[in-house]
C-alpha cells in the first residue's frame, strides 16, 4: 500500500490547494440536494397516516441527528490521527468540526422538541433519543470549552483529542443506559422515528436531505479549515502568495 497520499494530506499547502478544488463542488452538491430534499419533503411527500403533516419535521430532525452523532465520532477519529501520527491537519479538523457538530445537535434537539408538541402534546419528554441528544450536546460543550480554555494551540488540540476519544468510548454506554432507564420508567413510549416500512416517497427525500447535510458539513468544514490553515501558515511563502492573490481578486 502506498502511503504517500496520507503524508501529503498532512501538508497544509497540499490540503489548501486540493480543498480549494473540492469546495465549489461540495457547496453546489449541498445546495442542490438540500433544495430538492426540501421541496420534495415539504410539498410532495405524502402526509403520515398518524401524525399528518407534522411528520415533515423528520426531514430536518433526522439528518441533523445523524450528523450530530457522526461528527462526534469524526472528532475522535481526527483526535486519534492527530495523537498517533502527529498530523497537524487532524488537529485543525477536530477543532473546526466541533462547533458545527454542536449546532447540529442543537437543531436535532430543537426540531425534536417542536415535533413533540403536536405528537406528545408537550415540548419536552424525557424520551431516550432526546435525552441522549441532550447528553451529546453536553459532550460537545465539553470539547469546545476545553479547546477554548487551553491557550497553547497544540496542547488544546491534544487535550480535545483525548476528551473526544474518552467520549466516543462512552457514547454507546450512555446510549444503552439511557435506553434502559427509559424503558424502565416509561414503558412503550411512542417513538417518533422508528416507523414500520416507510414508503419510497417518504424515505427518498429523507435520504436526499441526509446526503445534502453531509455535503454541507463537508463544505463548511473545508471553509473553516482553510481559513485556519491560512492563519497558521501565514508566515510561509505559499500562504503569503495566496493572501496577495486573494487581495488582488477582491480590491
Amino acid at each position: 500500500m502506498n502511503w504517500t497520499w496520507f503524508h501529503k494530506l498532512g501538508s497544509p499547502k497540499w490540503f489548501y490547494q486540493i480543498s480549494g478544488r473540492w469546495l465549489p463542488w461540495l457547496a453546489v452538491a449541498a445546495v442542490l440536494l438540500i433544495a430538492v430534499g426540501l421541496v420534495w419533503g415539504l410539498a410532495f411527500a405524502p402526509p403520515d397516516y398518524q401524525q399528518g403533516n407534522s411528520f415533515r419535521i423528520i426531514y430536518i430532525h433526522v439528518p441533523a441527528a445523524f450528523l450530530a452523532q457522526s461528527i462526534y465520532v469524526m472528532l475522535a477519529v481526527a483526535g486519534l490521527v492527530g495523537l498517533v501520527w502527529k498530523m497537524k491537519l487532524a488537529d485543525v479538523a477536530l477543532q473546526q468540526a466541533a462547533p458545527f457538530g454542536a449546532w447540529m445537535t442543537f437543531i436535532a434537539l430543537l426540531t425534536g422538541a417542536i415535533w413533540g408538541k403536536p405528537t406528545w402534546g408537550t415540548y419536552w419528554v424525557w424520551d431516550a433519543r432526546l435525552t441522549s441528544m441532550l447528553i451529546l450536546l453536553f459532550l460537545y460543550f465539553g470539547v469546545i470549552a476545553l479547546g477554548n480554555a487551553i491557550t497553547n494551540r497544540d496542547s488544546a488540540a491534544k487535550a480535545c483529542a483525548v476528551l473526544a476519544i474518552v467520549g466516543v468510548v462512552n457514547i454507546p454506554i450512555i446510549k444503552y443506559s439511557v435506553e434502559w432507564w427509559n424503558t424502565l420508567h416509561q414503558p412503550a413510549t411512542f417513538s417518533v422515528v422508528a416507523k414500520p416500512a416507510m414508503p419510497f416517497e417518504m424515505w427518498m427525500p429523507l435520504l436526499i436531505m441526509v446526503l445534502g447535510f453531509y455535503c454541507l458539513f463537508g463544505a463548511v468544514l473545508l471553509l473553516r479549515m482553510r481559513l485556519e490553515v491560512l492563519k497558521r501558515e501565514a508566515r510561509s511563502s505559499w500562504a503569503q502568495a495566496e493572501i496577495r492573490a486573494q487581495l488582488e481578486k477582491t480590491p
Binding site: F138, L139, A145, A159, V162, I173
Partner: protein, 223 residues
Amino acid sequence: MSGVFFLLMRREARLLFRRPAELANPLVFFSIVIALFPLAVGPEKQLLQTLSPGLIWVAALLAVLLSLDGLFRSDFEDGSLEQWVLSSHPLPLLVLAKVLAHWLFSGLALVLLAPLLALMLGLPVRCLPVLLLSLLLGTPVLSLLGAVGAALTVGLKRGGLLLALLILPLYIPVLILGSGALQASLQGLPTSGYLLWLASLAALAVTLTPFAIGAGLTISVAE
C-alpha cells in the same frame, strides 16, 4: 514494577493523613447536600423514600467530583508530575496507583457514610447491602473518569467548573445504573443485573482510563 505501585499508594496515604481536613471536606459536603433535600422538598417520609436513591447518588457523584478537582493540582505545582512523566515506570500504572489511593481514602469513606444518610432519608434497612455494593462498584468508576478530566484541566487556573462540565455527562451511565439498582431494591425487584453492569463498567474503567489519564497529564505537563 508493582513495587513502585505500592510505594506510591503508601506515599499518597501519608500525604492524605498529614492533611486530614482534605479527607473530611467531601464527606461534609456529601452530608450537607443530603440534608438540603428534605429542607427543599419537605419532610414527608414517603416522598423522601421514593426520592432517596436518586438523591444519594447525585450527592455522592458531586462529592466525588468536588474531591477530584485538586487530585493532581499539588503534584502539578510542585513539579512532581514532571518527575512522573520522565520516570522509567509506565505512567498509566502510576496514575492508577494515585487514583486508587485517593479512592481508598476518600471514596471508601463516602461509601461507609452513605448508609447512615440513607437511613435518615428513610431508606429501609433491607436496601442497605445493595446501596453499599452499588456505591462500592460505582465510585471507583467516578474517581477514574473524573481523574481524566482532572488530568486535562490541571494546568488551567479555573479548572474546577470546567472539570464538572467535561466529566458530568460521562457520569450518567453510573448514575443511571447505581440509582436504578437502589430503586429496584426499594421495589423488591432483582438487582443483580444492575450490579453486574456496574462491575463491568468498573473493570472497563480500571483497564482503559489510566491510559487517558496518563495522556492527559503528559499534555498538561507539556504546556
